[in-house]
């Protein structure tokens, strides 16, 4: 299934668009589904089963707490696995981050201090999860608004070491990289040129906001043209993955979002 989604631009599935998608059967080739949205029972499950009959999906999680140290929440993992069995996503992704500590859940993506101890812990947890699900996870780079002191690795070094030890895949969020570099007044060029694109199976694109001197990864605007240019550049360098628009806030109608998706599809079509 993965093979057929290469170079296909998909969308993030949002509940408010569900009925429009099921009624109008758009051309969207695949959807990314936030697993955490389906932890509870409700009519959305029936709808997802219906969508699944015609359209591939990938699971994206925000709660695995890969970079944390708390024991995994057994109920959460069991529910997750059940969803995985029912909906058969093409792959599962989560972030290179921690999101809970000492039993307190932040429901946010917090940056990992990139030290050897963090690397050891993170790799062990990814391996545990990969054994649990019986597949290689895709790990996503996040936006970070704080910089730690005394880190041993750069993000690229950290990611490469994780891939080497765990065999996991990558989800490259182009917009997150650009936001991180913009906020630090730096050029993201080096990051992209060093990024191990052969391991990338999925790409995120989104539009952020500018708030109190900081670019925020708010997923509330259309994708910036600059981000699409970076995607095109990476494709010409050999990137072969599935791409998608992440939109969570200031949500337009599904038709508008689908239109934006088609524009990105067209933008990359002449270099494929």
């Amino acid at each position: 299934m993965k093979q057929s989604l290469n170079h296909k631009v998909g969308l993030g599935l949002r509940f408010t668009h569900f009925d429009s998608i099921l009624n109008n059967k758009p051309q969207t080739p695949w959807f990314e589904v936030i697993t955490d949205d389906f932890l509870n029972e409700g009519p959305h499950h029936k709808k997802l089963l219906k969508l699944r009959q015609s359209t591939p999906i990938a699971f994206h999680s925000i709660g695995l707490n890969i970079g944390g140290v708390d024991p995994f929440n057994k109920d959460y993992l069991a529910k997750f696995k059940q969803l995985y069995k029912v909906y058969e996503p093409a792959w599962i992704s989560d972030h290179l981050c921690w999101s809970a500590h000492n039993g307190n859940y932040h429901h946010d993506l917090l940056p990992i201090p990139k030290t050897m101890e963090a690397l050891n812990s993170t790799c062990a947890r990814i391996q545990y999860l990969q054994d649990y699900f019986g597949l290689n996870l895709a790990i996503e780079n996040i936006t970070s608004y704080i910089d730690y002191k005394n880190e041993t690795f750069t993000e690229i070094e950290f990611l490469k070491a994780i891939i080497k030890r765990t065999g996991c895949k990558l989800l490259l969020d182009i917009s997150n990289v650009i936001i991180n570099y913009k906020n630090r007044g730096q050029d993201p060029e080096d990051y992209f040129s060093e990024f191990p694109i052969s391991e990338v199976i999925q790409v995120h694109l989104s539009g952020g906001t500018f708030d109190e001197n900081t670019f925020i990864d708010s997923h509330s605007e259309s994708v910036n043209i600059f981000d699409i240019e970076i995607l095109k550049k990476l494709i010409t360098k050999g990137l072969k993955a599935s791409y998608m628009i992440e939109r969570d806030a200031n949500l337009p109608s599904f038709a508008t979002l689908e239109n934006e998706r088609q524009q990105i599809t067209e933008a990359i079509s002449d270099i494929l």
């Binding site: 955490d36 932890l39 509870n40 029972e41 409700g42 009519p43 709660g63 707490n65 944390g68 140290v69 929440n73 959460y76 921690w98 809970a100 500590h101 000492n102 039993g103 307190n104 859940y105 932040h106 429901h107 946010d108 917090l110 201090p113 030290t115 101890e117 963090a118 812990s121 608004y145 704080i146 910089d147 730690y148 002191k149 005394n150 900081t214 925020i216």
Partner: protein
Amino acid sequence: MTYSEHLNKVSQSILNFNQSLHDNLQEIIQSKSIANISIYRKNLFFGAFNNLTTDYVGLRSHLGNNNFKFLVRKYLLESKIKSPNIFDFSKYFSIFLLNTFDFHKDDLLTHLARLDLLYQYGEVNKSQTIRVTTGVFAYWSGLINKVDNLSPQIDKNSQEEVIVFDDNGERCLKLKARTYVL
């Protein structure tokens, strides 16, 4: 400092968002970016607030935005989020209200919250019902339908049973024809 201690410092600085940022963050975070902890504090608060706003439509309408915000803030600071499932945090809000306000003096908030929860999460297939003080359901319905100049007409001596049902794919609540005299 261990990795766990490192995470703990960052976690505590976000969770205790009513306190000023502690000097000990200097040890682990570059001073230029320490103030950005406020971004994570905002994310935490508004994540919780937006979830509760979606789930507690009747209660929020009764309290007004500022009072509702105050309660969410209090709930978040005192209870923290203890589940990877954000819906659990939302569901326990009604218990928090029960523990925070003297139930016998003013159970209106708790009962409005319970009706909101029944509306959002009640088991339609099992025709789930709950009992609330007589008059609360009529008031809640008015709040949901944005009726002007509402005031609750409560009879504390009896309770009514409310049922959740499916009306052409839309979740609805209605009064089940049973009244319990206390």
